[in-house]
Amino acid sequence: MPLLRDIKGFFPPFWVTFRNMFRKPVTVQYPEQMPELPERYRARLVLTRDPDGEERCVACHLCSGACPVDCISMQAAEAEDGRRYASWFRINFARCIFCGLCTEACPTLAIQVTSDFEISKRDPLKLVYEKDDLLVDHCGHNDEYSFYRQAGIGVAAPRGTNPSESAPVDVKDLLP
């Protein structure tokens, strides 16, 4: 009988809410009590360096291309030794949604996420991080990879001397 069912169903919620009042709340009291973050937590982005201590970022624009909210912008430039680097690199954290797609797109492992999430500011302009603010002095998650030692561009080592390369060919050689 629906009326009976309705009346029966009327009371349990009161019991549930009443009982809850005497339970310990589950809220984490954040500034006093720090949350335990998972190891792969995605928060503030950094630009890492390769094992040689050089900037890993080659300003290839893949991160800015992958960014769904267009919060990364940069300009590439060429150093004297032919190294491609970012003359400026800007991440607008006011816009960033911390999806981590940039780190997945990065071919040189330069841009990486850290678990530092405490970056809120009163002035949105202070959330616009420039290259100086982003660049760190370590390799981040991977301390082995160096793009210029893998790719065949004579920057980290002279042309043809990387482990995977043979010496430059002599184009005037006619030997079979």
Partner: protein, 784 residues
């Protein structure tokens, strides 16, 4: 017309079509590297493999080489072909350096696309990669040979198609190398095309090096504004800066390629001194205020001094819309019809092309297909570079090219040159001389003859004479076509809008009745003859108003300056030398580039709703504001079409879409040419445009600076000897416009009895295309 089946779809194609092209018609893209529509197929890359199930030759075949046959059955997605293509792509990648992140081609790389499309993802080969040392190829092209996949497209473009001589393939085995014999600048005027042709990042644009990624560029179909041919281009800009230009496809005009002037001559848009602020003297104004002042002042002067007192000056740099609206505004304020060119002889030559020759004009495509091209008074590489490439295609398909010119003309193909002086040129065209009759006979003997008419050298009179030759060489079966070369991107359009009779700018200025001169995107100090007289006449004016997007010397003299937008920043129409209406779309918005506002570093950290330097608005919009109209371009174009019936289908055209020629007319120009008597011991003065920097746009392009040539006067060694002058001597060139100190250069390829000077960035005083005149050359220095 064979009908064949590709992937269960039937298609009928013309005889001689390859399977690859037939598949393209069905929308099936067969991966390929070495095939290019303009270059043809060589079957070098093995990427376009398909399986022929029914046909003369069955089995795995290269689709770019197999001609379509009746009843042929082809599959492109069977296991055999797919696997073959995957293996081919894997082997092409054996030696690839995997440096896409630092490669400028990344994002628009055919190798990337084809590798992904063919399904090759992981490198299995563990051997060492082959490497090369690179060459320095000059200011325009950067080389990175490690990325090469040996498709030969660069050689076929540079050498075979564009006729360059200093680039080729060398080496053997897997050491095949594409480049010059030794380091050095690529000499061809079409060297930039190997950037477009290269399917990967071996050749990249050095002036665009590391500037942007393809996907970040703002691109739009545009028309090259550097000469009268109107080649289709796709400029690309980012952060308020025009960064590069690549060629677009227009089979009627440029085909697939463009010249280096068009490709690297675009940085005038980013000129550091480009005016972006309306000013009256040193006062800064908003554009609205400036327009208000212009309107008030013009009306006031007309009320006081009559319709003669205000002179409006249009130009061949301004779009068709701007020139037409300028005429409308003249009607509105009640002054005389505007002059649409500061350079009267050029303008008259363009009018002959626009009116008298209108039914004989032909496109570059027709030039490429011609079996006899006679160029009269034309130096294609200086006046219209892509014509040179078109002439080469005519020669490659068995045609002949004959050139009559006083200048040491060079072409990227074999041709027959007859060196004649300007007066002899006119004699050649008079129809009665022996040479003239020979010329007509020669043209009559050809099946598809084309006359290239150099408007600068011939002038209106010469063009009219040439028309008679063309008429004499035509018969019932075919017309002798004419391909005229005019002064600027919109010379034809300006000529078409103006009445067939016009008087000279200078005569009117010097009559002292003119109080106010309004120059719209033109600087008569640089773009018209007798610029010293013009400079003096400026002092007679009460008010000089300049609307321009270049930092021209005239804008310094202007009482009121209003900034306008460059062609890549606005929408508009140019009519090219053969009367083709071509629309260009806005690529970037006018503003100071971020590289300037950020001073090389990151852009300034501030919130503003208007970008700095974004004041300029398109000149056609300025005149619409003056007229109190605010219609969009399609509506404006409909109005223009009603007013100017020759603009057929004008309102339906789209930027980058099908282009369409203007209609013929029965109006005729009446110009006579007088050959002035030569003073004693004088030489005929020939002023020719320099290959780079003769048009103002390339003159203000920093990228082209390495190509600017030193100023000199050229004489035939005989003439030099007669005057006791040595090669390299400092001489004085005495002309009607005054004496000039120049270095002498002897050149035995030019006409005897002529003195040749190049108008370019280093010598701006004499402007090509003026009336026939004479000069003297003697040793020493002139003072004053």
């Amino acid at each position: 017309m064979p009908t064949l089946t590709i992937d269960n779809q039937q298609v009928t194609v013309p005889d001689g079509t390859t399977v690859l092209e037939a598949a393209e018609q069905l929308g099936i893209v067969i991966p390929h590297f070495c095939y290019h529509k303009a270059l043809g197929a060589v079957g070098a890359c093995r990427m376009c493999a398909v399986t022929v199930v029914e046909g003369t030759f069955k089995g795995l075949k290269m689709s770019c080489l197999v001609k379509a046959e009746e009843g042929m059955v082809v599959t492109t997605d069977d296991q055999q072909s797919v696997e073959f293509r995957a293996r081919v792509s894997e082997w092409l990648m054996l030696n690839h350096p995997h440096d896409c992140p630092v490669c400028d081609e990344g994002g628009e790389c055919q190798l990337q696309e084809m590798t992904i499309a063919s399904g090759h993802g992981l490198r299995r080969y563990t051997g060492k990669k082959r490497t090369y040392n690179n060459q320095q190829l000059g200011p325009f092209i950067a080389q990175e040979m490690n990325r090469c996949i040996q498709c030969y497209r660069c050689v076929r473009t540079y050498k075979d198609y564009c006729g360059g001589k200093d680039f080729g393939v060398m080496g053997s085995r897997n050491r095949v190398f594409f480049g010059r014999f030794k380091d050095g600048t690529l000499e061809s005027d079409f060297s930039g095309n190997i950037v477009d042709a290269c399917p990967t990042g071996v050749f990249t644009d050095k002036t665009y090096r590391f500037k942007s990624r393809y996907w970040d560029l703002q691109e739009a179909p545009s028309i090259c504004p550097h000469c009268s041919l109107g080649c289709s281009t796709v400029p690309g800009g980012r952060y308020g800066e025009l960064q590069r230009v690549r060629s677009s496809v227009n089979e009627k005009v440029n085909g697939f390629f463009i010249c280096d002037r068009g490709r690297f001559g675009s940085s005038y848009v980013n000129h550091p001194e480009r005016p972006r602020q309306a000013t009256r003297g040193s006062w800064k104004l908003t554009v609205d205020e400036a327009l208000q002042q212009l309107d008030v002042k013009a009306r006031e002067l007309i009320n006081q001094h009559g319709p003669e007192s205000v002179l409006l000056l249009g130009s061949n740099r301004a779009s068709l819309e701007t020139n037409w609206l300028l005429q409308r505004w003249a009607e509105e304020i009640g002054c005389r019809a505007p002059l649409l060119s500061a350079h009267l002889p050029r303008h008259q030559a363009a009018q002959v092309a626009a009116f008298d020759l209108a039914d004989r004009l032909c496109s570059l495509e027709k030039v490429r297909q011609s079996d006899l091209v006679v160029a009269i008074g034309a130096d294609p590489l200086a006046e219209a570079p892509m014509l040179g490439v078109a002439l080469r295609q005519a020669v490659r398909s068995g045609g002949k090219v004959k050139v009559f010119d006083p200048r040491p003309v060079e072409l990227p193909c074999d041709f027959e040159k007859q060196t004649v002086s300007p007066t002899e040129l006119l004699d050649l065209l008079d129809g009665t001389s022996v040479e003239s009759k020979q010329l007509v006979d020669l043209l009559r003997g050809a099946e598809r003859p084309v006359l290239v008419a150099g408007g600068l050298m011939l002038g209106a009179g010469g063009m009219l004479r040439l028309k008679k030759i063309a008429a004499a060489a035509s018969n019932d079966q075919r017309n002798c076509l004419v391909h005229p070369l005019l002064g600027g991107a919109n010379s034809f359009g300006a000529a078409l809008l103006s009445l067939p009779e016009q008087d000279d700018l200078l005569t009117r200025l010097e009559s002292e009745r003119i109080k106010m001169l309004v120059c719209v995107e033109t600087d008569p100090l640089l773009e018209a003859p007798d610029n010293e007289r013009f400079a003096k006449a400026l002092s007679l004016l009460e008010e000089l108003v300049v609307l321009d997007y270049l930092p021209t010397p005239l804008s310094v003299h202007a009482n009121l300056f209003i900034p306008t937008t460059a062609p890549v920043e606005s929408e508009g129409t140019f009519i090219n030398n053969e009367g083709r209406q071509q629309l260009f779309a806005p690529v970037i918005k006018p503003r100071l580039p971020i590289s300037v506002t950020g001073e090389g570093n990151h852009p300034p950290r501030e919130f503003i709703d208007v970008a700095p330097g974004s004041d300029p608005i398109p000149s056609w919009q300025l005149f619409q504001q003056l007229l109190g109209e605010a219609t969009d371009l399609p509506t404006l174009r409909e109005k223009m079409k009603t007013a100017v019936p020759r603009l057929i289908d004008f309102e339906t055209l789209q930027p980058g879409g099908v282009s369409c020629r203007v209609a013929h007319v029965d109006e005729r120009c009446i110009y006579t040419d007088e050959i002035p008597a030569a003073p004693e011991e004088s030489l005929q003065l020939v002023v020719t445009p320099a290959r780079y920097g003769s048009d103002l746009l390339s003159r203000y392009s920093a990228k082209l600076q390495p190509r600017f040539t030193e100023a000199c006067v050229q004489l035939h060694p005989q003439d030099a000897a007669a005057r006791g002058l040595q090669d390299g001597a400092k001489v004085v060139l005495d002309t009607v416009e005054g004496p000039f100190n120049l270095t002498l250069k002897c050149n035995d390829k030019m006409a005897i009895g002529c003195a040749l000077v190049e108008n370019g960035p280093k010598f701006q005083q004499l402007v090509p295309g003026g009336k026939l005149s004479f000069c003297k050359v003697h040793a020493g220095m002139s003072h004053g």
